[in-house]
């Protein structure tokens, strides 16, 4: 199980970096950036789940729920902003 | 009224799950919290009836789950292969169901099926605008969505069977001409 979790961390880490790069890249529109941020939070939730499996520590389990909710909330809020002000 | 009781029960279940253990105290507190929240908030102005026919719902969920897997495979394949086979388009799809709930569920399900994403919902005319990733045949996309919608109507529509075929055929015809 240890190797499996380390592999998952490596894969998710690469995914997270890809999201961050899209977030800060100069050419992206606002819509691109918020999609990248939401994806980053999704990767974050997965990483927390893998951590919980690896360490058996249940401290971050509630954080996954909050992160998922906040990701959705942020996405919807920025979407409404884009509608009014343009991407 | 039944919908509010359902929401109260759901809230109580989530409360118990969040606390981790199913003890008597947790369950009672959950029910109290659920009831308090449901009573404190005003009921929906247009009560929406949601029916869950078990067998049809299972079929819908099974098809839906399979399509989600297929969708992810399609996108993953596109990412991995070097040649860019993307041909996008936005397709107008008339909705036959009159129920808001079914339309919402179908729009949601479309967004998770292979290569399609609901962009705009025209509730007055009953049309759904879907962005498609690999657009080869417009009619094929419409047929796919119609199949999904039939399954959803069978599972969720409030009064036996979906609404009539009152989808505006004329406006769908207008959008065809480039």
């Amino acid at each position: 199980m240890n190797t499996v979790t380390v592999a998952c961390f490596a894969i998710l880490g690469a995914a997270g970096v890809a999201c961050i790069v899209r977030l800060v890249r100069p050419g992206s529109s606002l819509a691109d950036r918020i999609v990248a941020l939401d994806s980053f939070l999704v990767v974050f939730v997965s990483a927390l789940a893998v951590y919980t499996v690896r360490s058996g520590d249940d401290a971050f389990v509630n954080v996954t729920l909050v992160a998922a909710l906040l990701g959705f909330l942020g996405t919807v809020t920025v979407a409404r902003y884009i509608e009014r002000r343009g991407a | 009224m039944r919908a509010r009781i359902g929401i109260g029960v759901w809230l109580a279940v989530v409360w118990v799950v969040l606390w981790g253990e199913v003890t008597f105290a947790n369950a009672v507190t959950g029910i109290v919290m659920g009831a308090a929240i449901v009573l404190a908030l005003p009921p929906a102005r247009r009560p929406r009836t949601l029916v869950l026919r078990p067998w049809a719902t299972t079929r819908f969920l099974a098809v839906f789950a399979w399509k989600l897997v297929e969708a992810s495979a399609v996108v993953a394949w596109e990412v991995v292969t070097p040649r860019n086979r993307i041909k996008e388009g936005i397709v107008a799809i008339p909705i036959v169901s009159e129920s808001d709930v079914v339309t919402a569920i179908v729009a949601d399900a479309i967004s998770l099926t292979p290569g399609s994403l609901t962009i705009e919902v025209d509730a007055d005319h009953g049309v759904l605008y879907v962005h498609v990733l690999h657009l080869h045949d417009v009619e094929e996309v419409r047929a796919d969505v119609r199949r999904l919608e039939d399954l959803a109507i069978a599972a969720f529509a409030p009064s036996g069977g979906g609404g009539g075929h009152d989808a505006p055929a004329s406006s769908a015809g207008e959008e065809e001409t480039p």
């Binding site: 199980m1 499996v4 979790t5 592999a7 998952c8 894969i11 998710l12 995914a15 997270g16 890809a18 819509a31 999609v35 994806s39 999704v42 990767v43 939730v45 997965s46 919980t52 499996v53 249940d58 389990v61 998922a68 996405t75 979407a79 902003y81 884009i82 509608e83 991407a87 | 799950v17 969040l18 981790g20 989600l68 897997v69 992810s72 996108v75 993953a76 596109e78 990412v79 991995v80 041909k87 996008e88 388009g89 936005i90 107008a92 967004s111 998770l112 290569g115 994403l117 609901t118 962009i119 705009e120 025209d122 005319h125 605008y129 990733l133 657009l135 406006s171 207008e174 959008e175 065809e176």
Partner: protein, 116 residues
């Protein structure tokens, strides 16, 4: 590793890989709408698989129940979020990429109504 660990481990690896492919799609696809396809579908399925695998591999039932709850939540909210961003981007006039074949939304009653 017990049988449950194997199942959970496989689910997690597959889910993580799917998420990674989705995020790569964020870079490769030509325009905003295509990128949303890439971000939401594999990422949602990937997260559901990772959370499901974690729910299976973890020994504690309460944690598993919570992971299932988060997975269900993700399932329901991800397409809605993507739809809202897509709608907003279209209404804000984002250009569709050059590979677009058909655009039936432009000039339709819905389009005309919101441009007013």
């Amino acid at each position: 590793m017990s049988a449950l660990d194997w199942v959970g481990g496989v689910l997690m690896i597959v889910g993580a890989s799917l998420t990674l492919l989705g995020t790569i799609g964020l870079h490769r696809f030509p325009d905003v709408f295509a990128r949303m396809h890439a971000a939401t579908k594999p990422a949602t399925l990937g997260t559901v698989l990772v959370l499901g695998g974690a729910a299976v591999a973890v020994a504690d039932f309460s944690i598993s129940a919570l992971f299932v709850l988060v997975a269900a939540l993700q399932f329901i909210t991800a397409p809605v979020g993507a739809h809202m961003v897509g709608r907003a981007a279209y209404r804000a006039g984002t250009e569709l990429s050059a590979q677009t074949a058909v655009d039936e939304l432009a000039g339709s009653p819905a389009d005309r109504r919101r441009r007013r």
